[in-house]
Symmetry: C2
Subunit: 226 residues, 2 copies
């Protein structure tokens, strides 16, 4: 057993590769199933406390008369995030990962079993709050929504490129704090210019409502069915 | 290969257990080595952007005339955090983990090779910003310092108990934002009362200096040599 580890950790690496391959196959099947139902799936990722649940609540509350949403919420423990979305006209399922630092495709498959996909426009998957591990796992989503909150600091794009590189849209949240905290948006733009020039960078505040229109328009534009 | 995964993931679990066992043995050796040199080691953990590097800078800048510090800084990429500590009278080594979501004991052993432990009072290990993975890995530290910043929200103790349960001190940072953001400190205290009644909860602000004395006193009290 010890010997296994001494061999330059090769066994560990091959297991990790197999886990990723198996995950990708399940993710592919999730995506196929969602597409067959005309559902667009978003994987929302960020550090803990960047405002994912609050943004989701505002987003669905604003759009629920026109669009049908379902949400899968990933957390280690507690159903607090799912409860925060409980008053919305949307299907919400909490997935508890225990000690798991990210959602994987199989957990999403299990989550899909709890949902009625009929007539649904969007599935939003709120991943575990973590800037590292979730980025490595395809869940079967079509789009990656990455949040970065102003209090986290303007150095995060450079420090977590695996999260920001594949982003389809980047939401700079809590911008109402830009005047209060040291945060240089041009530093984020500069870092993004090296790794992701494709994703729009939208400045939003769930508190003041700033930028919400741009985000909601982006989201509306991703709908499969017209 | 596929078959391995289908067996209820047992192989994956056994590899993870072996990795943890091997890590613990290396951590034990790190601790022994630090103790032989009279060095007290702190493992500092939190979400990204909670203020670890800023606090470290203020702490060492204030105490460096009386106490000798060394710092190991963990990050996926960049040497930005180490550079931010570059003007201090302290030994600073950056450890880049690549895609690794936490430091492990072997990386700390390698870090120790770069340091002169002679006459050192404290080794502070700034872990990768992540509330999940670092908590599972003993690095050979004596004490765990956990930061929670006000902008992250008052629900984090309940959501990340594996991080807060073994804490020796919990620093509620950016308390200058308590009047601006919704954050109920009593909710944190209530959640802590179920999992960790041992660690002091200190309210601090690197910006205003509030609570820094209590933190510095706590730290002084952890010194091995008098």
């Amino acid at each position: 057993m010890e010997g296994t580890l001494r061999k330059g950790g090769k066994m560990k690496i091959s297991v990790v590769e197999n886990v990723l391959k198996a995950n990708d196959a399940v993710a592919h099947e999730n995506r196929r199933r969602l597409e067959a139902a005309g559902v667009r799936a978003l994987n929302m990722m960020s550090a803990p406390g960047s405002g994912k649940t609050t943004l989701l609540h505002e987003t669905i509350a604003t759009l629920q008369n026109d669009l049908r949403f379902a949400v899968l919420v990933g957390d280690l423990q507690t159903t607090r995030d799912a409860e925060r979305l409980g008053d919305l006209d949307a299907q919400v399922t909490q997935i508890n990962t225990g000690r798991g630092c990210h959602l994987d495709a199989t957990q999403v498959t299990q989550g899909l079993e709890t949902l009625d996909l009929e007539g649904l426009d969007f599935l939003i998957i709120e991943n575990v709050g973590n800037m590292v591990c979730p980025a490595g796992f395809d869940l079967g989503e079509h789009l990656r929504v990455i949040l970065l909150s102003v209090p986290e600091g303007d150095d995060k794009v450079a420090k977590y490129p695996t999260l920001f590189r594949p982003a389809d849209v980047i939401l700079l949240t809590k911008v109402d704090l830009l005047g209060i905290l040291d945060f240089d948006v041009s530093r984020v733009e500069e870092d993004l210019s090296h790794i992701n020039t494709r994703a729009p960078l939208l400045r939003i505040s769930s508190k003041t409502g700033e930028g919400m229109d741009a985000w909601l328009n982006w989201l509306r534009g991703q709908k499969v069915r017209s």
